[in-house]
Structures are given as C-alpha cells and as structure tokens.
C-alpha cells in the first residue's frame, strides 16, 4: 500500500479510519498539554509519569485478571498520579532537585513495572499475552471505544483550558505573583498536572510508555519556534501533534513491519528539526541570514562613517574625492560602493565619490542611539 492508497482507503476502511482518528486526537491533546509542560520547564515530568504508569497497568491486570483497556488505563492513571505526587513531595520536602526526583521515580516505577510484567508473562494464563504492547504502543489495537474516550477527554480538556485560560497563563508565567492576586495556585497546578497525566495515560496504548514523553514535548517545542503568543503556540502544537499522528499512521500503514508509535514520534521529530531550522523568528537559518545581513550592513556603515570623516572637513559635503584615498581603509570593496550608491548615500563618477546630503546626515546620526532606538 502506498501513502496515496492509504489516504483513499481512509474514507472507506473502518479500522484505518478509527486508528487515524485516534492518533490524530491523541497528537492534538498531547501537543496542547505538552505546551504547558514545556513552558513550566517540566518537560521530563511526562517521561517520569509515563514510566510510572507501567506498574499500574500490570497491577490492574493482576487484580482483575482481565485485559480490558479501560481497567488497565485506570490502573495506569492511579500509578501515574502516585508517581507525580511522589515527585512533588520529594522536591518540596527534601533537598533533592527536581531532576533527581524525576529520575528516581521514573526508574523505580519502571523497574517495578518491568518486574511485574515478567512475572505476569510466566503465569499459566492464556490471557496474559500482549500486555507488553504498552511498552512501545500498538496503534492497531485501537478500537472505536478507545477513540471515543480520547475524543471525550480531549473535549473536556479543551473546555477546561479555555475556561481557565487566564489562570493557566498567569500561573505558567509567574506563580508567586499569581498567589498574591488571591488565586488558589495549588488548584490550578493540580488541574494542569492532572490533565497532563490523563493525556499520557491515554497515549500509552498507542505510543507506549517509553516514547510517550516525545508526544508531549516534540509538538510543543516545534510550535514555540513559530510564535510569540501563548494561544497560537498551543494551537500550533495541537496541529503539529495531530499531523504527526496522521502522517505517522499513514507511513506505518503503508509499509510492512513499521510500528506506528515510533513512526509517529519520528514524524513529530521531523517537525521539530524543520522548525528549529526554518522558523523565521527563532530558526537557525534565518538567524544566520540576519547575522550576515547585519554584518554587511555594519560594514557599509563603517565605510560611510569613514567617508563622513573625510567629507566633513570640506565646506561642501558633496565635494568629490578620489576612490583611491579609501584604499587604506579595510572593508571597502567595489560592491560596498555600489550598495552605498543604491541607497543614495553617495554618488560615483569615474574614479571619484561624493557624499550626498542624505548620506551625510545618515552618517552623522549613525551611532546616535537616542534617535535610532525607537
């Protein structure tokens, strides 16, 4: 199946449509909430939470003996929340820094989860197969019920974000100040964190414990490059996330043996790389171009300044001088002179140059900050 065949099939094939819709919605909610995590400098919290969810899945299976997705996800939610709670507790109650707390919880919970998984696999129970799909995710197992749940949670999450927009924004920017205004910062904090945990848990089935944090971070990191507005950033992150989901599913469906979760994450990574290089404001490419332009501009102005130094000794500022006398000055080329002429700062005739009035006043005010600043 090629990618174009995939997009044709999308409208006829029920399974494919369900999976695509699921990964798109998942990408959107992760992008949206991932923006919050990135802006709070809690990028790695997602990683810790997703790993912390693993023992919950295993325990839920051990207790109920059933492989019902919703039951397993509730287990994941509970242990994810406990993990988060521990991280917060460790950072506030001990001298440990948050990266240490994250690392500890991540490895502790993940280790315990792996222990339980291997224990389950040794059990003489035909039902146990397939729990390990939560490690790397398996989008193909998404059914309509799962997608419906994702859509509902995303809807609620969107509603909450819009409702508490102002509160989220100010808490993300300046938590202490928010407190002095009389807002219950703890409530807002818990709300954000709860939804981040929820989004992670929803994504476990599709992307898996190991790669889940990339779903949160990659779209948000890419989106940050394109805008300086919080609303636009969150919207873009959701769009990037959704596209990563759709394209990832398309690529993995059109090739044999390509697991969907990793492909989605790789597509998201492509968004990140592209944004880092090509975004106009913060991208490396345009920054380099601007840097070169500035340098050329400076060189031009330096030459102009030098000419000004010569011209101001004459009563008539436009008195012509030989180009030769510029030779001692480094940085002057034929091209510089042409560019200066294009800007109408000098006139050239034969081997002579002369400042124009505009050129004279430009040079005069060149490094006068007060006038150039605003």
């Amino acid at each position: 199946m090629t990618i174009s065949e995939y997009f044709e099939l999308l409208f006829t094939d029920y399974t494919l449509r369900t999976i695509t819709l699921g990964t798109a919605v998942l990408g959107a909610i992760c992008g949206m909430l991932g923006s919050f995590a990135v802006l709070r400098k809690e990028s790695l919290l997602g990683d810790a939470i997703s790993h912390a969810a693993l023992p919950g899945i295993a325990l839920a299976f051990l207790i109920t003996g059933a492989k019902d997705t919703n039951v397993l996800l509730i287990g994941a939610l509970v242990s994810g929340l406990i993990g988060t709670f521990w991280i917060r507790g460790m950072t506030t109650k001990t001298h440990l820094k948050s990266d240490t707390a994250l690392g500890l919880v991540l490895s502790l919970f993940f280790g315990f989860g792996m222990l339980l998984l291997t224990f389950i696999q040794k059990q003489p129970n035909a039902n146990q197969a397939g729990l390990d799909k939560y490690l790397f995710g398996q989008a193909a197992t998404l059914v309509e019920k799962d997608v419906t749940l994702m859509v509902i949670v995303t809807g609620i999450c969107l509603f909450i974000v819009l409702l508490f927009w102002k509160e989220f924004k100010i808490l993300l920017f300046d938590a202490d100040y928010t407190k002095t205004l009389g807002f219950n910062t703890r409530f807002i904090d818990i709300l954000i964190t709860f939804f981040i945990v929820l989004a992670i848990v929803l994504g476990l089935q599709t992307v898996g414990v190991v790669l889940m944090s990339a779903m949160l971070l990659a779209p948000a990191a890419a989106a940050r490059q394109w805008t300086n507005k919080l609303g636009v950033m969150i919207f873009l992150a959701a769009v990037f996330g959704a596209f990563s989901g759709v394209f990832g599913t398309a690529i993995s469906a059109s090739q044999n043996n390509l697991s969907t979760g990793p492909v989605i994450v790789l597509v998201a990574a492509v968004f990140v790389v592209f944004s880092f290089i090509f975004s106009p404001g913060r991208g490396l490419l345009f920054r380099q171009i601007r840097f070169r332009q500035n340098r050329r501009d400076l060189q031009l102005k330096k030459t102009l300044q030098f000419m000004y130094g010569i011209a101001k000794t004459h009563e008539n500022v436009s008195h012509p001088h030989a180009i030769r006398i510029l030779n001692n000055f480094q940085g002057f080329t034929k091209k510089t002179l042409q560019q200066l002429e294009e800007k109408d700062w000098i006139t050239l005739s034969g081997q002579q140059w002369a400042l124009t009035n505009e050129g004279f006043s430009e040079a005069k005010n060149l490094y006068n900050q007060q006038e150039n600043h605003e």
């Binding site: 802006l39 400098k41 409702l163 508490f164 927009w165 102002k166 509160e167 924004k169 100010i170 993300l172 920017f173 300046d174 202490d176 100040y177 928010t178 407190k179 002095t180 205004l181 009389g182 807002f183 940050r224 805008t227 300086n228 507005k229 919080l230 636009v232 950033m233 605003e374």
Partner: protein
C-alpha cells in the same frame, strides 16, 4: 509615628527554611504614606520578609495585618513587584499582556480582561514610558524595560501598598530615575511603598523611611533619625563608614 495610621503591621513573624531561621521574631509597623527601604546584607531575609507578608512563604509563627485586617481580606489593597529574575522572560507573551495580568486579581476567576482592563494597562505602560513597546515580545526587552513592565503591572492593580523586590537591580541610570520618580509620585498620592534595596548610598536621597534587617529587625523609622553609622554597623557587622573610606 504617633497619630499616623499603620498600613502594615507585622507581629512576631518568624520564618525558617528547614531548621535555620531566616527571619526571627520580626515586629514591624509601617505607617501609611511612607516610601520605605528594607536594607541588610545578603541572606538577611529581605525578600523573605516581603514574601512572608504577602503569604507566598508560610511563616512558622506570627501574623500580618494590612490596615488592621488580616492580609487575606485586604489583598486588593496590595500590589507586588517580584524580582525580575524570578520569571522566564522567554515566555511567549507581549509587554501589554504581562501588564494586563495586574488586572486578573480584580477580575477574579474565569472572567476575561476586556476593554476597560486594556485601557488601564495602556495607561500604566505610558506612565512607565513603555507605551511604544506594548506589543514587543518580552524577551526582546532590555533588563530595564522588563523592570518597567513589572512596575506597570503593579500600577495597574491600583493598590494602596506596593511591595517591590530589588527594582533597581541591573537597571541603568535612566530606568532607575524613572522608577524612583514613579515611586515618589505614588507616595505623593498617599500610597505606601516598601522596597528591598541594596544601594546604601541612595537611601537618604530616595527614601524617607528605612528598616534595617539582618534576620532580626535592627531598627525601623525615619531615614533622618535612624540612618546612621550605629545602625549600619549593627546590621552589616562592620563599621560601614570606616570600611567605605579605607
């Protein structure tokens, strides 16, 4: 101080991080309408005192009243300018947006700022001379401009008492003069302003009230009466004048 209303009254305030006390048994009365500097060496608890008064840090003992009532009931009378370095200036937002945050407290939960709030924010930006930069992404502002934006955000709150944590840190002379002029205007309008301050040289020029702090309160009162070598030496542990003139 007699006959004057107390804007801020702090009783037996003690704050400790872990075991070591940062503030020890602080009693402090700040009369209405003064421009007060809190001075003291690094680690004296100056910022902590402000944060404890504002309820950002929980004290282990003591109480704070604003115009005779508990702080929680008087929040609307109080505005706060945190240290510039306490936030991430690369946050995706603009100068006017930050100033608008000053109106969030009066708006309360959920309600969004509208035209009225925007107008107030623009006025505050104009007061601090930043109107031309209203749509500038905040990371593209200089340190002094960022400080002015923070000040504008507090001005929007239209409070009776202003707490400022080192507003002159890392700003150039132009901004420092602009800020002190605004503070003096606030005092003229009958507001009370409390500033954590580091530059002892400028205390007599800028402020009319001063509190010496070094974990314990050393002294508090009018600059003219108590800003002297004795108190400086008690606070900084060195003979200030001798050390400076060496």
């Amino acid at each position: 101080m007699d006959g004057k209303t107390l804007a801020i009254s702090v009783d037996d305030l003690t704050v400790a991080y872990n075991y070591k006390p940062v503030l020890w048994d602080i009693d402090l009365g700040v009369p209405e309408g003064v421009l007060m500097a809190i001075v003291g060496p690094n680690g004296a608890g100056k910022s902590t005192l402000i944060k404890a008064i504002l309820g950002i840090i929980k004290p282990i003992a003591g109480s704070v009243t604003i115009y005779g009532k508990p702080y929680e009931k008087q929040r609307k009378l109080v505005a706060y300018v945190p240290q510039k370095g306490s936030v991430d200036w690369d946050f995706p937002t603009t100068a006017i947006d930050v100033v608008m945050m000053g109106t969030y407290g009066s708006l309360g939960w959920i309600k969004r700022p509208g035209q009225k709030q925007k107008k107030a924010a623009l006025e505050a930006l104009e007061k601090v001379g930043m109107l031309a930069f209203k749509n500038r992404q905040i990371s593209q502002l200089s340190g002094g401009q960022q400080q002015r934006v923070f000040l504008a955000r507090a001005l929007v709150q239209n409070a009776a008492i202003y707490f400022m944590d080192e507003p002159f840190q890392g700003v150039d002379a132009t901004t420092e003069i602009a800020i002190i002029n605004i503070l003096k205007e606030l005092r003229k309008a009958g507001k009370t302003v409390v500033v954590v301050h580091h530059d002892l040289q400028t205390v007599p020029e800028y402020f009319d009230w001063v509190t010496f702090l070094n974990v314990k309160k050393i002294a508090t009162g009018p600059v003219k009466e108590i800003f002297n070598d004795d108190n400086l030496t008690k606070t900084y542990g060195i003979n200030y004048k001798v050390a400076v003139n060496k």
